[in-house]
């Protein structure tokens, strides 16, 4: 192969792949491929991995006049701002923690049962798919807390685990010298990737096809990395927003899961307000946590296997009250924070749900799901069959369309979710 006087990066640049920076006031949206012109629309997806006690979550009546259940009472002030769903799930998902969490935002089927899931290759998660279309409009295409996000290849996006790290990402860029050093590191990274990319090209020649595929995987992901580096470099020239307060003190997620969650929610509201990203995922990560509880400590996971013991059910209900309180706190902040006179909540779809329908049995059907904000017509309980569940991905398609993606299917979906309408403005 002749030596390239023309590097790939230069090629990408000249081919116009380098992404234009958004306007300072992004009222006029950057038009991407397959994205219709829209005001800022955002999505926040939150997973509570240990489910909710079904009786405390699901209303009995369908429609707008349902009686609020124990957990939904926490959201009473927002009754008209959210829809609660029953009878939704991903078809064919093993009844295990790890795998069902991994596919919560992807809808990828996983055969198997509790503790024995079959091998599978995950598919793209909601946020990453959307990021491919609208991610370039913000400094961070997505922000991910905990592991819930997957690339189109099925590879995991490692999430943030510390509030301080989240804060630093949003607001801190160091002094001028550090900024320059960081920029230089990105540039060096680019030139290194250039060099090793050429090596991959050389290596691929003469390989049998299956091995060639592996080198191609190396090569094409390298391109993605290069693109990301060059976008990051361009963002380097724009200052990060000024923080509203000091960096948060990290709290132990293990010992104080709800405090951790609240801190995370506060940072998310900041991230949305400053438009640092429009696609955020949160894995609440309750597994193995020991919320301090009336003086005694109990592992949240063990409690979720309540074994029908009345004391356990009582304690678990109170823990789940805490989960809902934290969520209500988020809702309050999102409605109080205004953008162009409109509550942030109206422009942010907030999905709250679990991968398990019942943590004692580990069922992955009849998932507790709730969607708030984002400009939908809310205020009802949309009840689907509990025997024959409707794909949760139908809801995801509705959400993706709301983000401006012109798609009609995702995962197991066959269209949008019936009964969920966009509010007339």
């Amino acid at each position: 192969m002749p030596k390239h006087s023309f590097t790939r990066r230069r090629f990408l640049k000249t081919a116009g792949v380098t992404l234009a920076l958004p306007l300072l006031e992004a009222t006029a949206p950057a038009a991407g491929v397959g994205v219709s012109a829209l005001a800022r629309r955002r999505m926040l997806a939150i997973l509570y991995p240990l489910s909710f006690l079904p009786a405390n979550f699901f209303p009995e009546q369908a429609g707008p006049d349902y009686a609020l259940t124990r957990y939904l009472k926490f959201l009473e002030p927002f009754r008209r701002d959210f829809t609660v769903f029953s009878g939704l799930s991903h078809p064919r998902v093993a009844q295990s923690h790890y795998e069902s969490e991994n596919v919560f935002l992807t809808g990828c089927p996983v055969a198997g049962t509790i503790g024995a899931a079959a091998a599978y290759r995950n598919t793209v998660s909601l946020d990453q798919l959307a990021a491919a279309h609208i991610g370039s409009q913000t400094r961070f295409p997505t922000l991910n807390v905990g592991n819930l996000s997957f690339l189109p290849s099925g590879g995991r996006v490692p999430g943030m685990t510390k509030p301080s790290e989240f804060f630093a990402k949003l607001f801190l860029s160091g002094n001028e010298q550090q900024k320059q050093a960081h920029k230089r590191r990105l540039q060096n990274g680019q030139s290194i990737l250039d060099l090793v990319g050429d090596q991959a090209r050389d290596l691929k020649r003469g390989l049998p096809p299956r091995d060639g595929d592996k080198v191609e995987e190396y090569f094409s992901s390298l391109r993605d990395a290069e693109k990301r580096l060059s976008t990051m470099l361009e963002w380097e020239d724009r200052p990060k927003p000024k923080p509203d307060g000091p960096a948060p003190q990290d709290v132990s997620q293990r010992d104080k899961p709800f405090e951790y969650l609240r801190l995370t929610y506060d940072l998310i509201v900041l991230a949305l307000r400053h438009d640092s990203s429009r696609l955020i995922t949160v894995h609440a990560g309750f597994m193995g946590t020991y919320p301090i509880f009336n003086g005694s400590t109990i592992d949240y996971h063990n409690l979720s296997h309540h074994g029908k013991l009345p004391e356990n059910l009582d304690k678990l209900s109170r823990l789940e009250d805490e989960s809902m309180t934290a969520f209500a706190h988020l809702m309050t902040k999102l409605s109080e924070t205004k953008e162009e006179g409109e509550p942030l909540l109206n422009r942010t779809m907030v999905l709250l749900g679990s991968n398990l329908g019942n943590s004692n049995t580990h069922e992955t059907t009849n998932l507790p799901i709730l969607l708030a904000g984002g400009g939908f017509k809310h205020g009802q309980h949309l009840a689907f069959s509990r025997e024959n569940n409707t794909p949760l991905c139908n809801l995801y398609v509705s959400m993706l369309q709301r983000l401006g993606l012109e798609i009609s299917s995702f995962g197991s979906s066959k269209g949008t979710l019936k009964g969920l309408e966009v509010a007339s403005t």
């Binding site: 509790i114 024995a116 030139s191 090596q199 290596l203 049998p208 190396y218 993605d224 063990n302």
Partner: protein, 805 residues
Amino acid sequence: MGRLLQNRVRPTALAGTTCHWRFVLSLAWFLIGGLPAAVGAGEAPKEGVDATYTHRIRPILQKYCFACHGGTKPKGDLRLDTLVPDFRTSKTATTWKEVRDRVAGQTADAMPPKEKPQPSAEEVKALRDWIGTGLTAAAAADAASQAAEGRAQMRRLNRVEHNNTLRDLLGISVDLKPLLPEDEAIAGFDNVGAGLQITRIHHERYLEAAEAALNAAIVQGAQPKSIKARLTYQKADYPPRRLVKDDTWAFFISAPAEVRQFRPTAGGRYRIRVSAYAYQNQGRPMVMHVSAGDPAAPDEKYFAVAADKPTVVELTARVSPRNSIQIAPYGLGLIYIRDLANYQGPGLAVEWVEVEGPLWDSWPPESYQRLLGKLDLKKASLTDAEQVLRDFVPRAFRRPVPDAKVNKYIEFLRGKVANGSSSVEEALRQALMAVLCAPDFLLLYETPGPLNDFALAARLSYFLWRSMPDQPLLDLAAQKKLRSPEELRRQVERLLQDPRAAAFAENFLGQWLGLRQIDATTPDRVLYPEFDNYLKYSMLKEPQLFFEEMLKNDLKIQCLIDSDFSMLNDRLARHYGIEGALGPEFRKVKLPSDCRRGGVLTMAAVLKITANGTVTSPVLRGAWVLNNIMGQPLQLPSDLTVPAVEPDIRGAVNIRDQLAKHRTVAQCASCHQKIDPPGFALENFDPIGGYRTKYRALGKYPKANVKIYDKPVMYSDGLAVEAGDIMPNGKRFKDSDEFKKLLLEDSGPFIRTLAEKLVVYATGNPVRPSDRAAVDGILQRVRDKNDGLRTLVHELVQSELFLSK
């Protein structure tokens, strides 16, 4: 008929042709085109595919099978009316094989069920022959493609290998694993090509890891000051302490006490010596826990200290700035002490703590010299830097590298310096980073056919060390001496004796036995108050030391099922109810004849990872034993129509009664009569691996008459455990001992299972049907020798599976 398949593929004729893979590729196209890609719901496979299938086989299936295994709600989730007559994809091939094995088999799960019409002998024969021929032809086709492409797909280093390789290449000791995304496992192991994706995020993280590794290796300037100091505890409220003489403080509860005077400013290895003794312990020794370093993954050890007379112990720990040292007496509980001044209970008296570090073997450190020799990087010329690269590239790539390739990195270096963007040092660092991000570094490079010597050296070292080959291996490869059976044997012996071989037991058992999941659940503190960190630490060591003991002495593989010894320390011995005063050091202990332990199945760690923190489930444990020990992985139903058993710890419902529901529903019975028995064999073991005859329950019952740290426990004795069951072949057993005996009556399936797991682990590729002959060969030779575990490793290394791509 199968002939059709055979006619399409003449596998042996392919081997030896040049440029095989192009041919195989076109062949694959032909095959795909020649068979139905998929069959729509309810519709029969198309005419002309396989005349035998259409005219002979399908009618038989129609007559006897489709009534249950057809339509949209097939029994056992097995649908035969749409099963494609294709033996090349493992999924359909496995199903066809299952059909062959089940039809008119002799076991209880034979099909059709006894009460249904049975096929004639000719019909059975036709079906079996047709499936058999199809499977054979498919295996031959697979062999052909392997001859052309190799069995293993090219793969990248996983993050353990990436970390170990950088450790050994550069001589550094920082943990880089947390920088990389977790790897996904395929066929149970995280070193299989198909699972080792390369994503954008990997490249970003490889850059970070390379930078961090080089920063750790290239330590410059004057040698940082090391400290050596003797520290003592001081007055503080918590944990409660009492001054017993001079600077000696005694601690009375098992909460870790931080050595407050230790405030390291430089990271590195520290030697920590502690002088301590058991205080007011009635002349008995005591166990002391010392830990230091990263709080999330500290270096830690348990020591025995004598009574009243100071014992000095030593721990070397990797410490970062602001990390601390913590010391705690073991086994005193977290009791409240009312009158500290006059407390007469046992305690741990600590005289002093001596710290020394960071420890450097030399200055500049070994890592610097290994990369740069005597070169002063600040004053390095371009020529010096070029020489560093010329030396480094082949070492990093683990094979000789053509000049043209090395020159790419040199050009990069020169370019950086020439355009004035970087100093020589900066440019060299970047070039070195590039080497560590290069495909040649990150990918294991093997070519189809027999591995060349360098690829073989790498395969050997990654198998036994999960790290790069060392210089002796590379030298042998350069002299083309590695491939001889004698040399291979010598090298396996040498590698196994090296400290790096600890990675073998750790990673193989970590995945085969699932020991990596030891922390997946935390035992309920009320139900299992005796569970503590020392127990967890000890249970994790047992299988690893046991495996290493077996390797060292080439013990019979059957010992993994049952053995008359295990590797125990005091904590584990107490957990197992074995008498004898042992310290925290592990040793080989002969098990009493009435002891239920021996072999891996009844090791506490295995019993813990197959349970959650509250209850055990015979279904989960049974599935685990079938898959990992008996070699009968389950074909899992993708649509369970009977809800899972809802755990109940109120103490009134027996798991056996709950499961009975499954076993009476025909759809469930065929699987559950296989799954449940091995699970019930382990029913006498609780979620932390303790022996039980009664379940522990929480509820309105009298509390059990047991005390822990003088406090009565909060759980109650629940229903009695009924262990034992009947195997599908009708054999009964009453407990784990009898179950182990049944397994040992025919240990063949277990040894095959273990061998196949090792093949995956050693070669980075799942075992395919076409590997059968090679695995048979290994098993035969192991059987002919002594059934020894090390023999199995040797025979595996000497086999075609290992020696070829």
